[in-house]
Symmetry: C2
Subunit: 219 residues, 2 copies
């Protein structure tokens, strides 16, 4: 896997949250939004919001704020979410099921159209409208419709095997929820999702608090 | 909610991944590890690994690498994971179930000991060894054992109500998986988990590739 430098990781991770808020505002009939309002919503500093938004290339209109529609368009364009992204999900356990039920994906053009598992209790069942197929049918299913992204939600033990198989079948982007580092050829991009990353953030915030409380006592 | 500056967000998010790898190495009998090996595992640059690790305060032994045990201890201490963190999970749907089944939490001292829901089909059932109790029993359960962290996995509509309730019952740290910005008093810390953040990362990587492929064509 290449080690392309991706700058502004926190900013990129915040983009869906802006988008979620903006889509909600639009549905409520709002036409413009100030960076101050977004900063309050996000609980981050104004300057950070302005920097985040400037990444998208939009030119701010300082007095009236941003046009909601335009900002949605710029964020979607920045992320490449203005076109549809087709995905196959492998592993229809509880995490896979949670992802299939995630409402916002459709607004992001992210369409998990295919679901695979090996468990006979799951194969043939419908989850949020998609029928679970056996993983052995993957080649056939991909021949009908080639997904661009594979979402791997299988156990740690099975993840590398599943990755090898989807790559063999032409997938170049993998969103990996298994807690393993996948070995993939250089043309394949993997985004590893470590659910405990957020817990680490919360834990550090807690630790900082405890430390500053200790300092207060010492002073 | 305060807007304390947390530096090195990506580094903090990577900590559980280092820890996961180091724990695995230790269980395999390894006693030392080089930053080069960690960089290869993480698919990131050596300098980034060194910076990440230096955050923990460990002093590197350049020739023989890091002592695995010591590095585990420093990372755990940095995150405050050397003491046990008790948690209550509210919302035993598919995402909540996935979190309850996440093996690594126990190595992080993160113990989700209590599970609540309102669904009569779920209340009384056992999920990974924990019995789901009705949310109305929360006050009673917290009086028996006060959790430090609340993990909110309920629907977006119910999230604020649940947050208000756990705060009222003395919780100061919230790990929020609902896709809403919670309003909380200043003494409460919220970590909002936006699952689509990883998808945004993958999408930007894909977009960068498409752009550079276009440039190749133009050149």
């Amino acid at each position: 896997m290449r080690q392309d430098k991706i700058l502004n990781i926190p900013a990129i991770r915040r983009m869906p949250t802006y988008l979620h808020k903006l889509l909600k505002m639009r549905s409520e009939g709002r036409v413009s939004v100030s960076s101050t309002e977004l900063a309050e919503y996000m609980h981050i500093e104004l300057i950070v919001v302005r920097k985040d938004i400037s990444l998208t290339g939009i030119s701010g209109q300082r007095r009236v704020g941003y046009d909601v529609n335009e900002l949605i368009r710029y964020i979607k364009n920045y992320l490449g979410w203005d076109e549809s992204l087709s995905a196959a999900l492998i592993g229809a356990g509880s995490l896979g099921t949670a992802l299939l039920g995630y409402d916002d994906f459709e607004h992001y053009g992210f369409q998990i159209g295919q679901v695979f598992d090996t468990d006979p209790d799951k194969v043939g069942r419908k989850i949020y409208g998609r029928t679970v197929r056996h993983i052995d049918e993957m080649a056939e299913a991909f021949a009908e419709k080639q997904p661009e992204i594979a979402v791997i939600c299988v156990s740690n033990n099975a993840a590398q095997r599943v990755a090898d198989r989807v790559i063999e079948l032409g997938v170049r982007y993998i969103w990996n929820f298994a807690n393993v580092s996948l070995n993939v050829p250089p043309h394949v991009v993997v985004q590893r999702e470590v659910i405990a990353g957020g817990l680490a953030m919360l834990a550090v915030k807690r630790k900082q608090e405890k430390n500053s409380a200790k300092q207060d006592l010492i002073i």
